[in-house]
């Protein structure tokens, strides 16, 4: 009787899977019928429906000669898993349709993604649980497809975008455009996906040599540290425990630092300020399995700022009036962050294991920066490039005018400016006017909150208006010089 029971079991499972495939197909068609205005969810739907159809056909083929052989149970299981993954990914279709994201938030991300790879597509959505995250869906979809149909390895899907970047942000930060300069970091991850910057860094001879020397001894420590870093449970441990710890950590830290350097390279000090004001950055002062300690990240970002010439720009002695006061305030903020980085460098890291890994990166920041610069040299947010604009734009903010263009004396039409100049003007104004000081009491907190909300609204509007102006006045929407 035993074989018969097994056959019945598999038959029932196959029947349930077919039913699931048909239901999923109907649900996807229903989603399509909602008349989504943007193209990205339709592309995603095409791909998901294609997978479901493949799975359905294979299931029917599999069950054509009933009873089903128990030996084909694994095949059935693989198809069932593909359906589960499609179900999971369907959520993105709904997310991108339901997300009420202002254009001023969408534009910067879209601009960069399109510039990195013109054939890219993007989904952006508010996520209550995850906060700022980045993912790439085409790779995932390709893997699912390969599990159900014959596809050559290493090739992407013809006729479809090469990359489908997925960004999420904390919904409560939606209107907080200045804080959202932290998105530069997530775009940095996309850069990494497209150009394999981390992989290049990891295999660079200098990095390998340095890592190899320092980590040989630490390798012994790794398993123990993985179980209980600093005597506490590390939530990231679950995610990385199945991989060789040191290699995984190195890869993770390089990816994070590459993204940090990229964000400063293209957005200037705004990215560093945004990073330093994410409340959870405090919790990142200790290294973790996925992220380097925050002081190391700040140090890498400060290195890049120096490379871009911000030390000279913020030399208050070279300026007068408001501009001198602004330079002094922003310079002081950077000096405070430099102290954080310096303190972190001299204080011992948690445990020998992390200390060894941190040691590798102390000398590798410059190499990582070179790799990033090699890929996006044209977008460098150099101090001299934005200096002329930022101070003019701050004057606009001071007069409650969105900093979307630079006024030209006696002219009706202002000069277009860059996204980085707009966002940095917002941060410079915020720091100069001490809008992020600690309030004395609840009343002052509310006043500051209202002022910050107004500033954010002006900057958000400026991004939108700047984009609109380019689109209405320049050939091709002017995206080439918006960065």
């Amino acid at each position: 009787m035993a074989p018969a029971t097994a056959h019945l079991d598999v038959d029932y499972l196959a029947s349930a899977a077919i039913h699931q495939a048909l239901t999923l197909g109907d649900s996807l068609r229903e989603l399509r019928a909602r008349e989504y205005a943007t193209q990205t969810p339709l592309i995603l739907l095409d791909l998901l429906e294609g997978i479901v159809d493949d799975v359905r056909d294979q299931l029917l083929e599999l069950t054509a000669g009933r009873p089903l052989e128990a030996a084909r149970r694994m095949e059935l299981r693989g198809l069932g898993q593909a359906l589960d993954q499609v179900t999971e990914l369907s959520e993105y279709v709904v997310r991108c349709a339901d997300a009420d994201v202002p254009w001023g938030l969408v534009y910067p991300l879209e601009l960069f993604c399109r510039q990195l790879t013109p054939e890219s597509r993007m989904i952006i959505y508010p996520a209550w649980r995850h906060g700022y995250t980045y993912g790439e869906l085409m790779g995932t979809l390709y893997r699912i497809m390969r599990s159900v149909r014959e596809l050559p390895e290493g090739e992407f899907l013809p006729g479809y975008p090469r990359f489908l970047a997925v960004f999420s942000f904390p919904p409560i930060q939606g209107p907080n455009i200045l804080q959202n300069a932290a998105w530069g970091h997530e775009i940095g991850h996309h850069l990494d996906t497209v150009f394999n910057v981390s992989a290049e860094v990891l295999k660079a001879p200098a990095f390998v040599q340095r890592a190899g020397g320092v980590l040989t001894a630490a390798q012994v420590e790794a398993p123990r540290a993985a179980r209980a870093p600093q005597g506490q449970f590390d939530p990231n441990y679950e995610r990385v425990s199945h991989l060789t710890p040191i290699v995984k950590i190195l890869g993770g830290w390089v990816a994070e630092l590459v993204a940090d350097i990229f964000s400063v390279h293209v957005f200037g000090p705004a990215s560093l300020f945004a990073f330093s004001e994410i409340p959870s950055a405090l919790a990142w002062s200790e290294p973790s399995w996925s992220h380097p300690p925050s002081w190391l990240r700040i140090a890498a970002m400060l290195d890049e700022l120096r490379y871009l010439g911000y030390d000279a720009l913020l030399d208050a002695a070279q300026s007068t009036g408001h501009r001198a006061a602004m330079c002094a305030a922003v310079g002081e903020r950077l000096a405070t962050l430099a102290q954080v980085a310096a303190r972190g460098a001299v204080e011992p890291a948690t445990g020998r294991f992390f200390a060894s890994i941190t040691g590798v990166f102390a000398g590798a920041r410059g190499e990582m920066a070179s790799h990033v610069r090699g890929v996006v040299r044209d977008w460098a947010c150099r101090a001299e490039r934005i200096a002329g604009d930022v101070f003019e734009l701050v004057e606009r903010l001071d007069n409650v005018i969105p900093p979307c263009e630079v006024d030209l004396p006696g002219e009706l039409v202002g000069r277009a400016t860059t996204l980085a100049a707009i966002v940095n003007a917002g941060w410079f104004y915020r720091i100069w006017r001490s809008l992020d000081r600690a309030p004395r009491d609840g009343t002052e907190a509310r006043e500051l909150h209202a002022e910050l909300a107004r500033l954010n609204e002006l900057v958000l509007k400026a991004i939108e208006l700047s984009a609109a102006k380019r689109q209405l006045t320049e050939v091709g929407g002017g995206v080439d010089d918006a960065l």
Partner: protein, 398 residues
């Protein structure tokens, strides 16, 4: 704000001069993407912006002025859908449909100019009506537009299209506002809740609100009880929240604990927080009854309550030695060992000596009272005085 008078309409040379003036006194229209076409002989054409507020049908009344303010605000929010668009996107305005939008351009009005925004005649003839709206001196933001399709035909709108025009007039007696104007960068809901007279209208058919402030143990609670028992008032107290907080934190509601908690709450949330939190209860309960409110300690609380036009404040005081005796009589179980010196210290603090701006300020509150009583004998004498005052109030308010 003082009324202003509009003189002649600004013509093209005036408009150009205003648009290119130094930033502090400039008429800002940004971005001006096509000035040749946009600046007419006496108007500036403006474009349709990238966000719409579209009314949607719901299960509740859209605007019910009998509701609490918070509930009205929530209804407004629920009754609209925000639709973000990009430049060049289309939106179909169905026949007789109403939507709210803004101009694409951000407009900054100097204090010496006012204006009107209205539809362009070409679009009006095509069926799109832009309801004329005044643009006040000092306005900062994208101009709010109300669009209606006035034909029995749907219209396809395109963001970025020039659908309306701004006509400007000099103001002969400009006034500058000390408080910064709010920035209106997106379409926003009806500001109907900002209408003070709306609250007054709601109150005109209501009873009145009597606040009782006074020194420690002077008889405030007794007066409130009298109003409730004899005159049917509903008693609300700002201290209720403090008692609840004390319970939550597992603390006994002693004088010291209550003073500390009150200060902490006001410090963290603004000095008028306790009065603000009563707003909903007041709005609802005054529809059915007169109200008496006790537990007032800070001037900001008095100011918040005085926003209700039917609010009156009475103060009560008595010599400290007598109040100490009354306090012990009333609190023998909870604080039997309170010494005269300790009571005097609590009293000084309660009156505002050495207190921060968010602390106890009973003396300052009493100075804002409409009527002050000194209790030097039996409480019944105070009741008589209060009853006489109530008769006066009834004559004035009802």
């Amino acid at each position: 704000m003082m009324p202003f008078r509009m003189d002649g309409v600004l013509t093209r040379p005036d408009l150009v001069a205003r648009l290119t003036a130094p930033v502090a006194e400039r008429l800002v229209v940004t971005p001006l993407t096509d000035p040749e076409r946009q600046i007419g002989s006496n108007t500036i054409d403006l474009k349709l912006g990238t966000e719409l507020l579209v009314p949607r049908h719901g299960r509740t009344a859209y605007l019910d002025l009998h509701q609490r303010t918070e509930a009205i605000a929530a209804s407004l929010e629920a009754a609209h859908e925000r639709i973000p668009l990009q430049i060049g996107d289309e939106f179909i305005l169905h026949e007789h449909q109403f939507v709210m939008a803004t101009t694409l351009e951000y407009v900054g009005m100097p204090q010496n100019l006012a204006g009107y925004v209205m539809g362009r005649s070409s679009w009006e003839r095509a069926g799109l009506h832009v309801r004329p709206a005044r643009v006040a001196p000092g306005y900062r933001g994208c101009i709010q537009l109300q669009l209606v399709s006035h034909k029995d035909l749907p219209i396809t709108l395109v963001t970025g299209a020039r659908i309306c025009q701004l006509m400007l007039f000099p103001v002969s007696n400009p006034v500058s506002s000390e408080t910064p104007n709010p920035v209106r960068a997106r379409p926003y809901f009806s500001p109907i809740l900002d209408d003070e007279e709306l609250v007054q209208l709601q109150q005109s058919r209501r009873g009145f609100i009597l606040g009782v402030v006074g020194t420690l143990a002077s008889g405030r609670s007794l007066l409130a009880e009298h109003l409730a028992r004899v005159h049917g008032f509903v008693h609300l107290s700002l201290s209720t929240q403090l008692y609840a907080e004390a319970r939550q934190r597992g603390r006994r509601p002693t004088l010291a604990a209550m003073q500390e908690l009150g200060n902490a709450l006001r410090h963290a949330n603004g000095s008028s927080v306790l009065a603000d939190r009563l707003r909903g209860d007041i709005q609802e309960l005054q529809r059915v009854s007169n109200l008496v409110i006790t537990g007032i300690k800070n001037v900001a609380e008095v100011e918040a309550l005085k926003r209700w036009s039917n609010f009156r404040l009475i103060a009560v005081d008595a010599p400290v030695e007598r109040r100490y005796g009354w306090y012990l009589d009333a609190n023998r179980l909870t604080e039997p060992d309170l010494s005269p010196a300790a009571f005097a210290e609590f009293d000084r603090r309660d009156r505002g000596v050495g207190e921060p701006p968010w602390g106890q300020q009973v003396d300052a509150c009493m100075r804002l009272a409409d009527r002050t009583y000194t209790r030097d004998g039996a409480i019944s004498e105070l009741y008589q005085k209060l009853d006489a005052y109530l008769d006066e109030l009834r004559g004035m308010l009802l």
